[in-house]
C-alpha cells in the first residue's frame, strides 16, 4: 500500500513538479507582489493593501472593468445565441450539410491576429466593406473603430464570425437529443417552436451552462483583439478611442509592462480571479433550477 502510493507519486511527479514550479510558485509570488510596490528592476517594497485601496479610486481600473463586463454580459449571450442558431440550422438534414458546417467552422481556424487585422479594414469607417454594405441598403454608417460608442459592438460583431467551437459543441448536444422525444412532442401537437422550447432547450441546458461559464471566463481575460484594434504607430500603449477598448487584461498589461507597476498589476490579477469566481458562483446558483440533467 505504502509502496504503491510512492510509486503513484513517482509517476505523477512530472506533473506535480511542473504544477508547483509553473503554477503554484508564480501564483504565490503574484499574491505577494500584489502587496508590494514593485517595478521589476528594484526590490519590492511591502505596502500592505495599498494597491487594492488605490484600485478603488482608479478611474481607469473601473473603466476597464466595465469594458470587460460589457463584453461579458452582452457579448457572451449574443455570440452563444448565434452559435446555437447556427447549430440548429446545421442540424437540419439538407443536401450539402457537411459543406455548410465547414463554412461556418472555417473562420474559427483563422489565427486571431490575422482575423483582427482583416476586420480592422472591413470596419474602416470610410473604406470598409461593412459600412459600404450598410450604406448600400441605406443604413447608418457608424465609426466602428473611431467612435467610443461603437468599438465594443465592433468587437462583438467580430466575435460572431468565430463561433465555430461553441457551434460544434452545441451540434453534438443537439444530436444527443433522442428522436423519440420529438416524436412524442409532435403527437402531442407541438410545433417547431414548442419542440425547441420544451424538448431541445431543456435537454441541452447543461451544455449551454457549460459554454456560458467557459465563454464568460474567457471573455473576462479578453485581450488580443482589443490590443490589436487599439494599436498605434510603434505600438505605444493605447486603449483605443477614449479608452473604450481598454479591457481589463489590457489595462493590467499596461500597468505591468508599460508603467512597470508590477505590484499593482498583480493586485489587478487577483481582483479578476475573484470576479471570475463570483461570476461562476452566481451562474451556477441562478441556473440550479433551470438546468435539466438527463436521466432524472
Amino acid at each position: 500500500m505504502h509502496r504503491s502510493v510512492l510509486r503513484g507519486l513517482l509517476f505523477a511527479s512530472p506533473w506535480i513538479v511542473g504544477f508547483v514550479i509553473f503554477q503554484l510558485v508564480p501564483i504565490a509570488a503574484s499574491a505577494y507582489f500584489s502587496l508590494t510596490n514593485f517595478n521589476l528592476f528594484q526590490d519590492p517594497q511591502f505596502v500592505g493593501l495599498r494597491n487594492y485601496q488605490r484600485l478603488a479610486s482608479d478611474a481607469l481600473f473601473w473603466k476597464s472593468l466595465l469594458n470587460t463586463l460589457y463584453l461579458t454580459v452582452i457579448g457572451v449571450p449574443v455570440s452563444l445565441t448565434a452559435a446555437l442558431a447556427a447549430a440548429l440550422a446545421l442540424n437540419m438534414r439538407v443536401r450539402g450539410q457537411s459543406l455548410f458546417r465547414l463554412f461556418v467552422f472555417l473562420p474559427t481556424v483563422v489565427p486571431v491576429v490575422a482575423a483582427t487585422y482583416i476586420w480592422r479594414w472591413l470596419l474602416n469607417a470610410q473604406y470598409g466593406y461593412v459600412n459600404g454594405a450598410l450604406g448600400a441598403v441605406g443604413l447608418g454608417q457608424p465609426l466602428w473603430l473611431d467612435d467610443p460608442f461603437w468599438t465594443k459592438p465592433a468587437l462583438i460583431l467580430m466575435s460572431l464570425w468565430v463561433t465555430g467551437s461553441a457551434m460544434v459543441v452545441f451540434l453534438a448536444a443537439l444530436q444527443d437529443v433522442p428522436e423519440t422525444y420529438y416524436e412524442a412532442a409532435v403527437i402531442d401537437g407541438a410545433g417547431p417552436w414548442a419542440k425547441f422550447r420544451h424538448v431541445t432547450l431543456p435537454l441541452i441546458s447543461p451544455v449551454i451552462l457549460f459554454e456560458t461559464i467557459i465563454a464568460g471566463i474567457f471573455t473576462l481575460q479578453y485581450f488580443t483583439q482589443a490590443f490589436l484594434l487599439g494599436q498605434t504607430r510603434l505600438n505605444a500603449a493605447s486603449g483605443g478611442p477614449e479608452n473604450s477598448l481598454l479591457v481589463y487584461g489590457l489595462y493590467l498589461f499596461q500597468q505591468a509592462f508599460v508603467n512597470l507597476n508590477m505590484g499593482y498589476a498583480s493586485a489587478m490579477a487577483w481582483v479578476l480571479l475573484f470576479v471570475a469566481l463570483a461570476g461562476t458562483w452566481l451562474l451556477l446558483r441562478v441556473s440550479r433550477d433551470r438546468v435539466f440533467y438527463a436521466g432524472d
Partner: protein, 440 residues
Amino acid sequence: MRTAKVAQPWAVIAAVVVAVAACSNSSSPAAASAAASAPAVSTQPSAPAEKVTVNFPYLWSGPEGDALEKVIASFNSSQTAITVKGVSSPDFQKQLASMSGSNGFDISDNFGSTVGSWASKGILEPLDDYAKADGTDMSDFVPTALQSNQYQGKTYALPIAVHTLLLMYNKKMFADAGISGPPTTMTDLQADIAKLTKADASGNITQFGMRSPDYITLAYAFGGKWYDDQGNATPDDPGNLAALHFWVDNVVKKYGADAIKKFESGYGEYASAQNPFYTGKVAMTLDGEWQPVFIKQYAPSLDWGVVAIPYPDGQQSLAGATQLTSSMFFIPKNAPHKQEAWTFLKYLTGTDAMKQFSRALGNLPARTSLLGDPVYNDLPQFNVWLDSLKSPNLRIFASLPSTAQYQKDLSDEFQLVANLTDTPEAGMAKVKANASGYSQ
C-alpha cells in the same frame, strides 16, 4: 441515475477550476520573469579569442533602418573583438518587456523624454563612468539634448539626433485656394484652415486644412508650459488652454468631431506614399525635419514649403516657438555586454557616424559642431529646421520620473477634448488632479 446527475455538475466545476487557474496564470509570466530579473549579473566572457556579439534592436524601420545598418556595417568592419547585430523592432512595448527579463539586448534607442522615468526605476545603465574611463568628451553635444538624457546629475543615454516640428504646407493647394503665402499669425492660420477645408453636401470632409496637430507643441506656440520650474505638472497653464481652444473652437466645432474622425480613418500609413499630406488630403501639418528625405522618397513631385509655427496675434515675442525632442541610444541595466555596448554607443554618437546617420535620415544632428556642416546642404528646406534650433522659444518637455505617465494621461485627455466630450478646462483639470498622485 442519480450518479449521472451528480457527476455532471462536478464536471462543470472541474472545468471551471481549471479555467480559473488558467486565468490567474495571466500574472504568472510576469512574476516568473520578475523573480529572475533580480540576480541579473552580467557575466563577461573571459576568452577574448571569440568575438562578442552586441545585440541591437532598434525602433527605426524601412529606409531609416537601412541607413542604420550601414553605420553598423562600418563599425563592424573596424572591429576585431565586437560584432554588432542590428534588427529592426519598431515596438515600444516589446522593447520595454525585454528589458525586464534576466537577459535582454545590449543597446537600443528611444526618445530623451523616457530617460527620467526609466532612470528613476533603475532600468538604465549610467554612462558617466564609462565616459570618464576612456576620456569621452561630452561638451560637443547640443546642451538641451544632453540634458534631456540626464537624470539627477547622471547621464543615462547619449543623443544621436534632435527634432523639431514646424508648419509644412502644400504650395499647390495654397495657390488653388488663392492664398498668397504661408500663415505667420494664428489668425492667418485659422483663416487658411477655413479656406483649405472642403466638405460635401452631407457634411463629409473631402479636404482638410490642417492635420490635427501635436497639442503639446501647439501649446508651446501659445506660450504654454507643461511643467513649472519645480517639476510640478501644469496642464492647465493658460497657454495650453489657449492652444486647445484654438483647435476645438475653430476646427472641431466648425466641422464636427465625427466628420473629422471619419476623414482621419481614411489616412494612409504615415511613412508611405499614402501619407495624407503627400496625397493632398491635408494642406498643412506640423511635422519634423525628416520630411525632406521622406518626401524625396514617397512624394518626389510634391510642391511644399515649411515655416515656423505661427504665433498668437500681437505676441511676436513667441515667434519661432516649437518643441525640441531627442533620439538617443541607451544601455539597459540587464545588458549582457555593457562594455562592448558602450564602445559601439560611443562610435554611434561620435562625429563621423552621427554625420553619416543624420544625413541619411535627414535628422538634425545632436552635436553642435555638425549644425553648420555642408553635408546637409542638398536636403531641400532643411535649413528652416536648422534655424529653428536657434530660436529663444525652443522648448523641451522635461524628462522626469512622471513624464511617461503624464504624457499618456495627456494624450488620453486630448482625445476627450478633441471629441468635445470634455472642455479644455475640465480636461486639463482632470489631468492635474491625476498628476498630484504621480510621485507616489
